[in-house]
């Protein structure tokens, strides 16, 4: 798919002039003509949706930065000023804040798509790894941005998360002070967080270019998961435009409806009320919770009784994604043909939701009813502490044990030879 020949013919004089000097129109035209597997379903539309999310976040963010003041004395008030006095400021800020949530909804679905259809397997490892890097950068950017309004959750979230670095033996403490720019979270911290929050989205944009480059070098995966043979390229692919631009466009409209629902009708539903209280270094909120998209990782952090161990587990939960291509031993890409693995995948999704739910609860609270069962090691069995631990165990077991073992032991269903075979019963020529 990558080495198809350019079909672009410059028509106007300016295009001809430009084509020998900066073939940018050719680049765009070739991109639009890219042969795309004709069986891509709607799970494949999240790439385009994510690109839009990044553009929305950068556009609204640049405008917000024109009104925001990164100073502990003025940050909270400047955000309130954006909400009350700046023309349309409330909509811009609500779009930016809810945009982060929408970005994460899309990225989680995009990653689960890749997981289900085996999009990380050879020859697409680099696409997946760069994608994991983008996901990690997104988490960092979202965390930095959440600190900027300088509310109670901003401050205490920053306190808790930067303290994680202090858990590293020996170098933890000096690195923590260096990162904060002082003995505690203060103006120096807020200033640098603002600077980095502005920087990282452009690093993400750079990684997106690499992500697409790798995608077009290896070619797109598809729901059947087979590589399209060279001689079938004409039959099994369609040009990206107009076939998939239209499909992506429709998905974007549906996605924007969900986006608008939050921005216009429940702009604070995904936030936390405590962040409308100005930061106070002398009062901790009764219950510190991160934004919803970080809850599963926050739950994993709390599942481990040791402080440094918890930090290691949390980073390992993201780190293990990077080596996923080498943990999966199956030759079959798509889980459509792997019924055993499909069951484990569904459990993995449910497990992820449970982890997220656990991350928002108090660890000692009972899960079912209001009764105690018995103390297992350091907590009641009927508590979120233990539910979180079981879910954490499954999360890691899914990648480190289930993936390698099932790949070796299962019997996959027969894989079709071409992507039109499942639709046309092998008689693709007639279609």
């Amino acid at each position: 798919m990558s080495d198809h020949e350019s079909t672009y013919v410059p028509k106007t004089g300016i295009e001809k002039w430009l084509d020998t000097r900066l073939p940018i129109v050719r680049f765009g035209a070739d991109y639009m003509a890219l042969p795309t597997p004709r069986n891509l379903n709607y799970w494949w539309t999240f790439g385009g949706i994510l690109a839009l999310c990044l553009v929305i976040q950068i556009a609204t963010g640049v405008i917000l930065a024109m009104h925001y003041v990164p100073n502990t004395e003025m940050a909270f008030a400047s955000v309130e000023r954006i909400m009350r006095d700046v023309n349309g400021g409330d909509l811009i800020r609500y779009t930016h804040a809810n945009g982060a949530s929408m970005f994460f909804i899309a990225v989680y679905l995009h990653m689960l798509r890749g997981l289900y259809y085996g999009s990380y397997k050879a020859p697409r490892e680099m696409i997946w790894i760069i994608g994991c890097l983008i996901f990690f950068l997104m988490i960092a950017t979202a965390f930095l941005g959440y600190v900027l309004p300088w509310g109670q959750m901003s401050y205490w979230g920053a306190e808790v998360i930067t303290n994680l670095i202090g858990a590293i033996p020996v170098i933890g403490e000096p690195v923590l002070i260096w990162l904060r720019g002082g003995p505690a979270i203060d103006n120096a911290t807020l200033n640098r967080f603002f600077s980095l929050h502005y920087l990282l989205p452009f690093v993400i944009a750079g990684c997106v270019v690499l992500h697409l480059w790798a995608l077009h070098a290896a070619g797109q995966n598809n729901p059947v998961g087979i590589l399209i043979p060279k001689d079938r390229e004409k039959k099994d692919t369609l040009p990206f435009h107009p076939y998939f631009t239209v499909k992506d466009g429709f998905a974007i409209i549906v996605f924007l409806m969900l986006f608008a629902l939050f921005v216009f009708f429940m702009p604070n539903a995904l936030g936390h009320a405590d962040n409308y209280i100005p930061a106070n270094p002398l009062v901790t909120p009764a219950h510190i919770v991160p934004e919803w998209y970080m809850l599963p990782f926050y739950a994993i952090l709390r599942a481990i009784p040791d402080k440094f161990g918890g930090v290691v587990a949390m980073f390992a939960a993201i780190g293990i994604l990077f080596v996923l291509p080498w943990l999966d031993t199956s030759k079959v890409r798509s889980m459509r043909y792997r019924p055993t693995m499909r069951t484990f995948f569904v459990l993995f999704v449910i497990n992820g939701l449970i982890l997220g739910w656990c991350g928002a609860q108090l660890p000692d609270a009972p899960v079912i009813g209001d009764f105690k069962t018995f103390i297992l090691i350091d907590g009641d069995l009927n508590s979120y502490l233990w539910l979180t631990r079981f879910a954490t165990l499954y999360y890691f077991a899914f990648f480190a044990i289930i993936m390698p073992l099932v790949g070796l032991r299962e019997t996959p269903q027969p894989i079709p030879a071409t992507i039109s075979e499942p639709v046309l019963g092998g008689d693709a020529e007639k279609g």
Binding site: W156, E159, V160, T162, N163, L164, I177, W178, L179, G181, G182, P183, A184, I185, D186, A188, R192, P281, L282, V283, T284, A286, H287, I288, R302, P305, D306, K307, F308, G310, P363, D364
Partner: protein, 180 residues
């Protein structure tokens, strides 16, 4: 002149000298980049004015027996607690009670001022502020992740690894301390 530089076998003749120049130039570039990066990295360390706020004084007569006052020092909360005799006794009795971070109560207060406990008020787990007088040991309880501290500020139960930190401080007079 040119002939003396370019030898017959220009490809391999000067290999060792060229390698040396390549490596030396590369090493110099890496060294220079590092030297340029260091001031940038170091600028993120606490600035002079931040470090200048290093010490404060506090009048101990403001604290009543059985209570604590929270003051701000270097952007962090500092607990100043006036302990009751019963609380001091409880802390001393537990000196050998199998503590996660063993330390005697006497080592956490100043000689002759054992009723006063001065501590940095951030939980050693992830930095929340523990609430006064709660928890299983009557000291503090951190609501974030459930760490229990005793009346000496020592960790007794929960995920925190260390005792509440005793900052550097000294008694200037019987009723006045200087922290930092």
């Amino acid at each position: 002149m040119a002939e003396s530089v370019v030898t017959e076998n220009g490809e391999g003749g000067d290999a060792t000298r060229r390698d040396f120049i390549h490596i030396a130039a590369g090493a110099a570039a890496v060294g220079a980049a590092g030297m340029m990066a260091w001031p940038l990295i170091n600028s993120m360390n606490p600035a002079a004015d931040t470090l200048a706020l290093a010490s404060i004084e506090f009048d101990m007569t403001k604290v009543q027996e059985g209570q604590q006052i929270v003051i701000k020092w270097q952007g962090k909360p500092v607990f100043v607690r006036y302990r009751t005799p019963a609380e001091i006794q409880a802390a001393r009795a537990d000196d050998r009670a199998g503590l996660p971070d063993p330390q005697a109560d006497a080592d956490r207060v100043k000689e002759g001022h054992q009723q006063y406990l001065v501590l940095i008020g951030n939980c050693t787990h992830l930095g929340c502020i523990p609430t006064f007088g709660t928890g299983d040991f009557g000291g503090w309880f951190c609501p974030c992740h459930g760490s229990h501290y005793d009346t000496s500020g020592r960790i007794r139960k929960g995920p925190a690894p260390l005792n509440l930190v005793v900052p550097e401080y000294e008694f200037l007079s019987d009723t006045r301390i200087k922290i930092g």
